[in-house]
Symmetry: C2
């Protein structure tokens, strides 16, 4: 299994983050119980992938997918962990379930996406479910088989709606797994399905498409978690702010945004000073309605004009913008930036990988890798440094951040659960 | 991780068992759902270890421990699986739990037993519980520290009772984990503890000390499971019978036992004939009240007199005996018999190992190894042959019985749950 070891991972942590990690490791029983109590009140999302960035002095979640793909990048060593976690989830949601329908997104011609579907099929088959795939693309009208490199294939059929249920011929699933973010909104065929479990709920796409909502839930959670553990929440939570109703085609709009950027930078500078960090703080600016539209990265409000001139023009009219503290990456593999991605199923961290390739603060983050990137599965290492043992010095050991990363990924996934509750159309409006 | 691979495992399976395994692998979703539905009605034991034997034409559980030790023999690669399964268990039993008290047995001077306690402490600490150890030995009156080879230690304190609860000074556990089979009956200090969860329930020692009860529950389960899958339950279930109220110091008693032995042998011979098995069938005879007292192995009722003369004399008076079909071992590692041992936590198979050393049909089975035995952790192999994939031919692949063994271990653990329900003093008598 040598091939799954992380080669030459280099991470330089500075004082406060080292202390934070040591504190989290020493407090494992309390941390785990804290999460256990949270899950008595809140429902974990069926699955998630969280992209983290570790700047050496702070760690933060940069992107959370509630429709994660790239499952094929996890080490085969963690398949059984995935299966066990998914069993626990299904047992709670629909213990009698026999069939699971997976709704893929539209990248059915991409071999890596098909490999992802194959991994999901394997996991849920081992959970004890018959798995089939159905497309919701309006032009997908005929069953198609997609060949996989190992000789197996993936059959995708057009989704059928019959009164209050969706399914396939002779296949009525108890649960429907969305592997599709529904970026264009919830399609009619998936509306008002009260007899079946849609996982995650269809409104998750819109909820997660509003980054300020997740940022707010995450910030609140980190405050509580930080108070509980006696740590500064800033070490795990990027600062953010909102700038609403601005028209970037007007001088007043630009001025308002530049002022917001400078206000957030001032806050960041205060924290940098507190921890004697000499880096130049930056702020990213995105649309709160469409975070993938584009990103501006600024180290001063005065840079706005120049940055806008070099970027894709913003949409016209009144915009809602979200500003976030930029977190650089200090981890590298073979001299390339290495970004950890952590996967969860139900309340459990089940695996992850390092993605290498230059971290560009001004590029939208997704799970999709450009072709140049490599992936190194994160394995639950057999060494004592992997699963935390009290009294060990993790900093002195081989670099292994997995437990701390798992905690932050779970905080991030929990924040997504809060955001889903706050936006659930079946709940009373807040 | 090379050191955990099983070296030179040689297993020769014959036709029907090969077919059975293939059938189980092909039916994974149905098998897993079958278990899921069982667990809707029955409660899994918190943990178990099941010793299996595979004769090449049939597999059967030989021994089930509901107070398993030897956790240190599992591969470190499965620690996270153990933690996750134990998290799922604690979440259902006592989600608010902060403290876990482990009651060890009396082998506190044995380094291997201490290593077992260390492994349990590690697992439950990662679950999110503060773990301490308390002895119930009547002469254990002072706190003692036991050093471990890695420099850590295990502190064992005398158990305290305070009204309706047990605990330690400043430590009131929500759950008490028995790692002690309570062979001398339930001690007074553990009686009537209705405010705390005792895991497994204290009557488990007596229940599992009556092998015919587990054999009956297991046989019934295998019949149902066999019918469900369309397989002959005999392939996974040793035949057994009871011989009650016999005094082996009287000719009539010996005659009755010899006749029972011959009757069971006749049944086994019929099955051997059906499957064209040319081995000589044998029957083991044990006390149904004290299975560890000793074992007689007979290939004919006429051998009883001679066998008794060579064995430890039976207790006097009227005895209750359990007769069971002997299952030889056909698996070997480095030319030594290899016996698989499978561990479960909650409803999940979490790991196991092969124990090598001569299989003696006439020796009582426990988890304890004699000093000559070696252990080879069973790893959830990364290969496709490990976790079953449909359409693969497991017989053609590297020998890997782990999924089938996991199914049989779970049937066996489920049978223990049935037996515990049938003997629960809080239930109405049957």
């Amino acid at each position: 299994m040598e091939e799954y070891m992380v080669p030459h991972l280099a991470t330089t942590l500075t004082g406060p983050l080292n202390e934070l990690e040591q504190h989290i490791l020493d407090s494992t029983p309390a941390v785990e119980r804290w999460f256990r109590l949270e899950w008595m009140e809140h429902t974990p999302t069926l699955y998630s992938a969280v992209v983290l960035r570790n700047s050496g002095f702070k760690v933060g979640p940069m992107y959370v997918s509630l429709f994660p793909d790239c499952w094929q990048l996890l080490s085969p060593d963690v398949t059984q962990l995935c299966v066990q976690a998914a069993m626990a989830a299904i047992e709670k949601i629909c213990p009698e379930a026999q069939n699971l329908l997976i709704i893929p997104d539209d990248r059915l011609e991409e071999p890596s996406y098909l490999a992802n579907l194959q991994s999901l099929r394997k996991i849920f088959r081992l959970v004890g479910l018959n798995v089939r795939f159905a497309s919701i693309h309006p032009e997908f009208s005929q069953t198609r088989q997609y060949a996989l490199p190992d000789g197996a294939d993936i059959t995708v059929e057009p989704l059928l709606r019959d009164n209050n249920r969706v399914g396939l011929p002779h296949f009525s699933p108890c649960a429907v797994l969305l592997n599709n973010p529904l970026s264009n909104g919830i399609p009619g065929i998936l509306e008002d399905l009260f007899e079946q479990y849609i996982l995650p709920p269809p409104h998750a796409g819109v909820t997660m498409g509003t980054p300020s909502l997740h940022a707010r839930c995450y910030e609140e959670l980190c405050k509580r978690f930080g108070k509980f553990l006696g740590i500064d929440p800033w070490l795990i939570s990027p600062l953010y702010s909102k700038c609403e109703k601005v028209d970037l085609f007007t001088p007043a709009g630009k001025q308002a945004l530049a002022a917001s950027v400078d206000a957030l930078l001032a806050k960041i500078r205060r924290k940098y000073k507190e921890y004697r960090i000499t880096d130049t703080p930056v702020v990213s600016v995105r649309l709160d309605t469409d975070p993938l539209y584009g990103v501006l990265v600024l180290s001063s409000g005065s840079e706005l004009e120049t940055a806008m001139a070099q970027a894709k023009p913003p949409p016209e009219g009144s915009l809602s913008l979200v500003l976030q503290e930029g977190v650089h990456s200090c981890e590298s593999i073979d001299d390339m930036d290495a970004t950890p991605v952590v996967y969860t199923i139900d309340r459990y961290v089940v695996g992850g990988y390092y993605r290498t390739g230059k971290v560009e603060l001004n590029a939208p983050i997704t799970l999709n890798a450009d072709s140049a990137a490599s992936f190194y599965p994160l394995v639950f290492d057999a060494s004592v440094h992997q699963t935390p043992g009290s009294g060990k010095k993790p900093a002195a050991a081989a670099p292994n951040r997995f437990y701390m990363y798992g905690v932050i990924a779970r905080l991030s996934m929990l924040a997504a659960s809060y955001a889903l509750e706050a936006t659930d159309p079946q709940n009373e409006p807040l």
